[in-house]
């Protein structure tokens, strides 16, 4: 009888522990339930004729939300760098993918968190109802924007005859089911930057929506099951974590409420500054970013990332006069008449650079030196001797972009136009497209163009692998290791004095050979003595 009681207690304990375990590990229960049921809100019953009509309903309760969002970089696409004083943000920079947003607005601004920003030369629309709440807060997965709608979703069936074409989103249904942001929301733009899944970043693509543990320990349901905002903590619609001014070395350590800035967009804000069991590994954290060892390769989720984009070959048409689409053996795009030639990579080993968090861009107004190619579209600052710098992993994006060889600057790349034939994707004529683009952006242009080889750095920080897959010491501590390019410091096993090595080994060899010769002499003379 005693035994059954004990058994019952034991089972009870096991059940209690299991219950506890599941309550701490499942995402559902981790997210605190809302105090409001949006299903029951009268203002959200619809129907809604447009996105802005939904926003008007949202703003009736969330009175500050539009103002907050409109102050954030998600809205302004503008960032005045406090150190370099460069005016950055999507509105101003040139990248090594599509080039620039200006002159391609209704296409590029389909990823703006607003409705109807049709002209990059002007600030985004000011009306509060122009903010798009649904793109970030949809939980149904049914909200989608027209790729050429300047941020608007699709309102009508695109092709009434085709039953397979995607249905326009039911705005009222989505509005009643809004919630906190998740991977899908952020990913709908950030996974598809540069014109397709995984194209731009290399460490951000659709494989992160439901990643395996080996792909990303933080975002995997088998791991921490994080949403983006769990690290990119948000306050008043301003999201932490910046590429323009990154925190390359977080010395603050674990983010303690009341003591620090509530920013969790660094590894240290959860893991601290001494995260390893081994003191020698902890000795590395002042100079090596966590990402350098813990993201051994990027584009690991089965989605290839673009590594080379050569615009100079764009415009070549097939024999039938139609644009070409050529794929490589892996099924990745190799050539498009609209965009030129590509190379892709999966499971790419990053390249490593010293980085203090500051990035200086080559803007359209900056003068190039085309005798020194590739041109760095963005330059990283940092060195071994700077205590704020650490070794960071980067995706290096390379390719060729149009520039003005007379005035020596990058040119506005006018590729998309909804209503005339000035753009490259309609006319396949660079002369026309660049003329239209520069005129639109009011950029000085000699009328001559050529293609300059460019290079762009993309910091790698997502797709953190399980600890067991972190780089071995010998990945860098080797004669030809991953850090072969960083030569401004002494790295054990990589560096040596070749002269000391030669002298040392020669001396050892000399003594060895001398000893053997001496021994030979002893044996010979002993034999001779014995014989005589």
């Amino acid at each position: 009888m005693n035994r059954t009681v004990t058994r019952r207690i034991l089972w009870g304990l096991v059940a209690a522990m299991l219950g506890l375990a599941s309550s701490t590990t499942t995402a559902l229960e981790r997210t605190s339930p809302s105090t409001a049921d949006h299903e029951r809100f009268k203002a959200l019953q619809g129907p809604f004729a447009s996105g802005p009509k939904v926003t008007e309903a949202c703003l009736k309760c969330h009175t500050e939300a539009a103002d907050q969002l409109q102050a954030s970089i998600h809205w302004t696409w503008e960032y005045l760098h406090p150190e370099t004083r460069q005016l950055l943000g999507k509105r101003h920079v040139v990248n090594s993918f599509c080039g620039s947003v200006a002159s391609n607005e209704p296409f590029c601004t389909s990823c703006h968190t607003g409705y109807g920003w049709k002209d990059m030369r002007e600030a985004p629309p000011v009306a509060g109802n122009r903010v798009d709440c649904l793109v970030c807060h949809d939980t149904t997965g049914d909200y989608w924007k027209s790729p050429t709608g300047a941020g608007h979703p699709v309102y009508d069936m695109l092709d009434l005859g085709d039953s397979s074409s995607r249905r326009p989103p039911d705005l009222a249904q989505i509005a009643r089911n809004i919630g906190p942001t998740n991977k899908q929301n952020c990913g709908s733009c950030h996974f598809y930057g540069g014109g397709g899944d995984g194209v731009k970043h290399g460490d951000l693509d659709s494989s992160l929506i439901d990643p395996s543990f080996s792909l990303d320990v933080h975002m995997s349901p088998e791991g921490a099951d994080f949403a983006c905002a769990d690290c990119h903590t948000t306050s008043a619609h301003s999201v932490s974590g910046s590429r323009y001014l990154a925190k390359a070395r977080d010395t603050q350590g674990i983010d303690v409420p009341g003591h620090t800035d509530f920013t969790r967009a660094s590894c240290e804000s959860c893991h601290g500054v001494e995260p390893h069991g081994s003191a020698k590994l902890n000795d590395h954290v002042d100079q090596v970013a966590c990402q350098s060892c813990h993201i051994p390769e990027f584009a690991r989720g089965g989605v290839a990332t673009k590594t080379w984009w050569d615009w100079s070959t764009a415009g070549r048409l097939g024999e039938d006069g139609k644009p070409l689409t050529i794929r490589d053996d892996d099924g990745n795009l190799e050539y498009l008449s609209t965009k030129g030639s590509f190379r892709h990579g999966e499971n790419v080993a990053p390249e490593y650079r010293w980085f203090d968090g500051q990035v200086r861009y080559t803007l359209r107004s900056d003068t190039l030196d085309d005798s020194r190619q590739p041109i760095e579209i963005n330059k990283l600052q940092g060195s071994h001797d700077d205590p704020n710098s650490r070794i960071w992993p980067f995706k290096i994006m390379q390719g060729k972009q149009p520039y003005d060889p007379v005035n020596q600057h990058l040119l506005v790349n006018h590729v998309y136009s909804a209503n005339n034939d000035t753009a490259l994707w309609t006319n396949f004529d660079w002369t026309k497209a660049l003329k239209a683009g520069t005129e639109y952006a009011d950029q000085p242009y000699s009328g001559e163009f050529a293609f300059v080889e460019t290079l762009m750095h993309w910091p790698i920080t997502h797709m953190v692998a399980p600890a067991k897959d972190a780089l071995r010491c010998s990945a860098c501590h080797a004669r030809e290791g991953r850090l072969a390019a960083l030569t401004d410091f002494y790295l054990p096993a990589r560096d040596r004095s070749i002269w000391l090595d030669r002298a040392g080994w020669s001396a050892a060899l000399l003594v060895l050979v001398g000893s053997l010769a001496h021994a030979g002499g002893r044996i010979l003379t002993r034999r001779r003595r014995k014989r005589s």
């Binding site: 002042d286 010998s474 501590h477 002298a503 050892a508 001496h518 021994a519």
Partner: protein, 224 residues
């Protein structure tokens, strides 16, 4: 009949564990240096540090032992019969001459050995230790006020000392075979005893060692 105990138990323990640690430190050290890949850099570095601490511990014991037993005097350099020993290694060993030095409990090392071991203890070892400890505590340099030091320079010194150690080991191992027979000098380092048939008991011989010719009196430098 057993001969004379030349190398006491602690001395033999110290010698052979030091030998093993030095061989292991050289093996792992040259991997850390990048000369080859065997254990993998991380493992090599960890074990190298561990073995270094063991060697330091062993040395603390040995220094204590040397001073408490007075055995440190064995390393006081002397030029007495140094020329004779060098002459033997260069010429005598080929002509069949006897080794001019006979070890005793009070003079275990011939004058050349004394010089070599003293250099080992006062030059190579401290150099390798100081540079090695600095290397190991690279991250503490700023706290110790050593920002000006360069890791490359410390590594250079450490590597140079390692090469000196390698040269010493090769020469030491070879010269250990130069007794009457190949193993006659190695055996007492293992058993502790000098073979009785090779040498009569020499307990009361001079601390400069004994020679075939009538022993000279001890040199003034060393008698205390």
């Amino acid at each position: 009949m057993k001969g004379v105990m030349i190398y006491k138990r602690f001395e033999r323990f110290w010698h052979w564990s030091q030998a093993a640690l030095i061989f292991f430190l050289m093996f792992t050290g040259f991997e850390i240096h990048g000369s080859y890949q065997a254990l993998g850099f991380g493992t090599a570095a960890r074990l190298h540090g561990l073995a270094a601490y063991m060697l330091i511990g062993l040395w603390i014991l040995a220094i204590f032992w040397h001073f408490t037993t007075g055995e440190w005097r064995q390393y006081i350099p002397t030029t007495n019969r140094l020329g004779a020993v060098i002459h033997y290694y260069l010429i005598g060993t080929f002509t069949g001459a006897e080794h001019p030095f006979r070890q005793t409990t009070r003079a275990k090392h011939n004058p050349l050995q004394r010089l070599a071991y003293l250099a080992f203890k006062l030059l190579i070892s401290p150099l390798i230790w100081i540079s090695g400890l600095l290397y190991l505590f690279y991250n503490q340099w700023p706290a110790w006020g050593l920002e000006e030091l360069s890791l490359g320079d410390v590594a250079l010194v450490h590597t140079a000392a390692a090469f000196a150690m390698l040269v010493f080991v090769i020469a030491h191992v070879y010269m250990a075979t130069m007794g009457k027979t190949v193993f006659s000098m190695i055996k007492p380092m293992i058993t502790g005893y000098e073979d009785a048939r090779e040498q009569p008991p020499a307990k009361d011989a001079s601390d400069q060692g004994s020679v075939e010719t009538p022993p000279r009196s001890a040199g003034g430098k060393t008698s205390t």
